[in-house]
Structure formats: C-alpha cells, structure tokens
Symmetry: C2
Subunit: 363 residues, 2 copies
Amino acid sequence: MVRRQEPGRRRPTIADIAHKAGVSKGSVSYALNGRPGVSEPTRRRILAIAEETGWHPNRAARALSAARSGACGLALARPARTLAYEPFFAELLSGIEAELSARQVALMLQIVEDVDAEAVALRRWWAERRVDGVLLVDLRVDDPRVPLVEELGLPAVIVGGPGPTGSLPFFPGGDAIGVCQIVEHLVGLGHRRIDRVAGSPEFAHTQLRTEVFEEALAGAGASGSVVTTDYSSPAGAAATRELLARSPAPTAIVYDSDLMAIAGLGVAQEMGTVVPTELSIASFDDSLICGVVRPSLTACARDVVGYGAQAARALISLVENEPVPTYVVEPPKLVPRASTGPPAGTVAPRRRARPPSPVGARA
Amino acid sequence: MVRRQEPGRRRPTIADIAHKAGVSKGSVSYALNGRPGVSEPTRRRILAIAEETGWHPNRAARALSAARSGACGLALARPARTLAYEPFFAELLSGIEAELSARQVALMLQIVEDVDAEAVALRRWWAERRVDGVLLVDLRVDDPRVPLVEELGLPAVIVGGPGPTGSLPFFPGGDAIGVCQIVEHLVGLGHRRIDRVAGSPEFAHTQLRTEVFEEALAGAGASGSVVTTDYSSPAGAAATRELLARSPAPTAIVYDSDLMAIAGLGVAQEMGTVVPTELSIASFDDSLICGVVRPSLTACARDVVGYGAQAARALISLVENEPVPTYVVEPPKLVPRASTGPPAGTVAPRRRARPPSPVGARA
DNA sequence: CTGAAAGCGCTTACAG
DNA sequence: CTGAAAGCGCTTACAG
C-alpha cells in the first residue's frame, strides 16, 4: 500500500524507537506502558529515546488494538445556538470539558434536531467506536436513549436527571430542591397566587419541577398554574402576557430559565406592571444576567459547572471499570434580589435591593 | 491476541459483510466508499447488507489506514470558566460545532494555562494524529503556534486574527471596523475625551484595536487613554475606577468585552456617575446582557457564530486539500442603546432609550 | 470486475 | 527478560 505523501514532519513510531534501542516493538510497548517484561535499564533507555524523539502513541492505532477511543460523546437536541444563549449549557460544557481535558479524553459534541436524532447519533458513535461512553442530558419521560445504551452496552451517565432511570448512574440537577426554595421564598413573602412559566414538558426535569411546584403550593395553601414553553424568549414573553391577562392575575411568576425570566420582566415592564411591587419574578440558574438586569432577579443558583465535571468524571470511571465516585456538588441556593417582594397590599417590610455591582466580584 | 470481552452488542465489520455477500473485503471497501472496482449489482447487494446489519466504519481503523482522524482541535489559554462567562467563546464554539457536526468531524477542545501549554497540546495532538487540523484563536504577537504548525505541516486556520500571519489562512474578527464604529458614534455625539478599558495586551487583536482606536481618536481630534486588563470583571471594575478618578475624567469609556462593560457600569453607578448623562459607555460583542441591563448598553455586534462556522468550514477544506472558501460574514454593526449620549453640557438632543424588551425578539 | 495481500501503528499472548 | 508474530478493521495498489 502506498500512503498519501504527508507534508510536514514525520512522526516517530515504536518501530523507530525499537530500532534505535536495538529491541523489539513488543519490548518498547511494554516499556512505554509501564508493564512488566522489560529490564529496568532497557526501560530507561527506551523511555529516554521516546522522550528525545518526541514520540506519542498514534491514537488510532492504540484505539484499534485496545478497542478504546479515548473520547466521550454528548448529543444535544436543542436549537443550534443553545450553547450561545443558554448559560446552563455553556456552564455544563465548561465543567465537562475541564474534567475530560485533564484526562486527555476528547469530547464528541453534536447538536441535533430531536430525540430520535440523538439516538441515531449515539448508535453511530457506538458502531464507529467513536466514543467510549456518553453523557445523557435533557432526559425525557420514557427516553429511548436509556434502553438503547443498555442494549448496546455503551457506558452512559445521566446528567441533571430527575432520578434513577434503568441501570444508569444519574446525577440529579437539584430541580426539586430549587423549586421548593423558590416557592418557600415567595410564600414567605406573602404570595398565595404563584404561576410558573415552565420549559418543555417533554423533559423529565420539567415534569419533576411541575410535580414539586404543585405539591409545594398545595402544602403552603397557595395556588397557581403552569404554562409550558419551548424555552425560547418569545415563548417566555407570550406565556407571561397570557398569565398577566388572567383574572385573578398572579402576584408572582417563577421561570424555568433566566432567558425566559428576562423576557417576562420585559413584558411586565411593557404592560406597566411594576416589579416587584405588583409582580414578583424568580428564576432558575442565576446566570450573570440575573445580577445586572434591573430590577435584579431573584434566582435559584445551581452549581452547573460542578454537575458537568462530576458527571464527566463518573463516566470516565465507568468506562475504566472503576467504581463510580460519589456525587458531591453544592446544593442549589436561593439568591434573593430585587425582583421579589411582598405582594401589593401586604404590610411586610420591603427588602432593599442589593448594591448595584454584584458583578465585579463574580468572574 | 485475546481481546477484552466487550459487554453489549457486537459490531459488524467489513469481513462480516464480505462473508454474507460472498465477496472479498476489498470489494466491500470499494463498494462502501463509492469507488470503481465493483459491479453495480454487487455494490447494491453490499450496500443493502451494510444497511441491514447497521454497519458503520470503525473510525480508528479508518483513521489508521487513511491517516486521517476526522477531528479538529482548539486549544484555549483562558481561565477554565471562560466558556461559561465569556459569551464570545460560547458563540464561537456554537458556530464551530454546528459546522463540524454537520460533517461528522469531532472537536478536540482543551482549556490550558498559557501559550506554551497551547503549543504543547498542538504538538501532542499532531504526534498522536488526534486531529487533522487546528483552529487558532487569541493570536498573540509573534505567536509561537504559527511557526509550530507550519513546521509540523499541521493544517491550521486563524480565527479572529488581526491579519495575515505566516502562511495561514486567517479570518478577521472585525476588530478594526468595530472600534471605528464605536469611536465614530461617540465622536458624533460630541465626545472628545474617550478612554478605553482593553483586554490583554498580549493578544494581537487587542493591539490592533488599540492602534485603530488611537488613530480614530486622533483623526477626529479627540484624545483618550487605554488601560489594559486580563478581561476579568474585577479588572474591568478597577480600570473604570482608575479612569473616573483621573482629571479630566473621560466623558466616555469603551470596553473590550461586555463582561467588563457591565462591571464598569456597576462602578459608575456606585460612584454616583450617571450613565449616559455624565459618562457614556460602549461595549463589544453585544451579548444578550447588553439589551437587558439598565441603562441598556450601546455595543458593537459581531457575527461571532458566523466567524466560528466559517473558520471551521475553511479548516475542513484545508484538510481535504480543497480550495478554502471565501470568507463571507456579516460586518460588525453598532447597536446604539441607552448607555451612550452627548457629554454633559452639550445641547445635542438626547436619544431615547429603546423599548424595554428587545430581548423577547432575539432567541 | 474481483480476490488475495500488505500495510497503517499499536497491544498482547506465546515461545524461547 | 526478550523476540517474533498475530491481530484490531480498515484502505489500496497489484495480479488475475
């Protein structure tokens, strides 16, 4: 076979090292992988030559013989610009990336149309041996990916999953605790009519939030309804308009994402509804934006970077057949800001807005 | 050789297909790759079997024989959470990802400490044949990566580069035009003392912006100074404090990133400096945040997602030895908002702030 | 048009 | 401790 002539420098192989060291390729491989089967002096000589020639293993060759690709996959069925607009995913990716990079594991990231396309991507990665394992986010009720990875024997970890699903390790995203904290906060301020602008109902975490939301309201003697959306700003705006037009109107609205909360705040201001005097607004995820918009937004802050990092670490352990480490992330924390206050007509004292520059201390 | 027993389903290989079709592996390879050398009926039979068995090429095997990894690399010397906090990178990555995903090309992404670590990563990727090419961002003056990739013969494309560097295709990031637009806008409003809070001076695009900024000021008979930072919020805040304490104080400050502009706005508000009456603020990149902060921020909007997509496409062409497509991105566009106005004492009419919810229309 | 074979660069049992 | 060899799953010149 004749190879296409490559431009650029030639890469040394173990054959080159074996030749220089006067030993076989097998010995070189043993030495380089720290395995028994070579004498200490030989090992040192081989390592020195590898070092001085700048040898690194050809990943394709190693993957082919070791049946290990050194990559993990994440297929995401969200709009293409989600990475740019949803802080949640940028943060999650940041955490995943840090963990994988540190271990020289590559990430296959693919943005697709829908769940079915996700399954297609997973199956192809598996068939191509492109990845050693996958991260599953945005779990759906009866998600087809779960039985698929189980059938294929493809190591997988669920991130931000609502709870145990099939045999897969799952890493909860703090949705239940977060919703409780927000409702408690609002109820504590005196609200009894609290609506929620939710994300896509197809996602299991949306359903979990809804269940917890309704239970929490009932438990507190409050009421409210849930409008689901596709997470887009326009949908968040439309839902807000709809809720504010109802009678009786809610005195507080909870949003499933910062993007929608901002859109909702804009609608309220357009409609002349004063926040928080006439309407309290609370949001999820506490991205940078919550602290700088006026009024600043009360939000539930989750350690999303931590979720990503821990899930990635767990997946690596799973792939290596090591015990999956225990999940330790910061619990969600409610950050009260200027967008929530007692409902109109209440005598409870107004909280003061926080100083105007919480931003400077963040990055 | 005995393989580790893999759990899960067995993946079909071309040998399986050859066996089922009663032909040689070579014929299967030709048929599957759409090459001459097989009769049409045979080809169809082979394709049907591949389809029905769910065959996909083992990427490692293909990479090993074709000397092509099917991956591109991006090493980034920025703080670990940059992806989460700097909208520029999330948007760039979003564009790159969309383009690569569509062509089944993987992305190796690695966040490292400094330029030297970037070079180490590139060299390792090259030696491991991990990537077929790399994207170079945050180009520095006399960047060591340029001679390195040239020496290695590693296909590379510069993204957001200031201009031609070595033999590499470069994709300018609109820095010069953007700075001009901002200065023109401010000068047009009557400002004559305009300072700038810049990013890291080590980056070539920072230097380019500085040159253009100073020329533009001089050309307009205005003056001002530049303070460089590490792009962090605290640094942006500190620089603002320093500039506002000077005498004469600037009537306008230009920021190199939204993150720093927001921090600067916070400082101004803390110091009781009214924006835009006493101080105009303009920023770069126009992320979501610019439209929702109060006052909303005048910013130069660049098509960062487009930069990423085009650079990725160009890199793929380069790797495939095809002609690199022409660069066509939206030019930067100044988006005037409420944070800029005539300097105090000017009689020019105040512009009105835009309606409060430009956000709802965006996502 | 088709088959048999070599080769990509590793890993790893198996003999010496 | 060391070497020779087979094998991972492809691609591709070379003979028939």
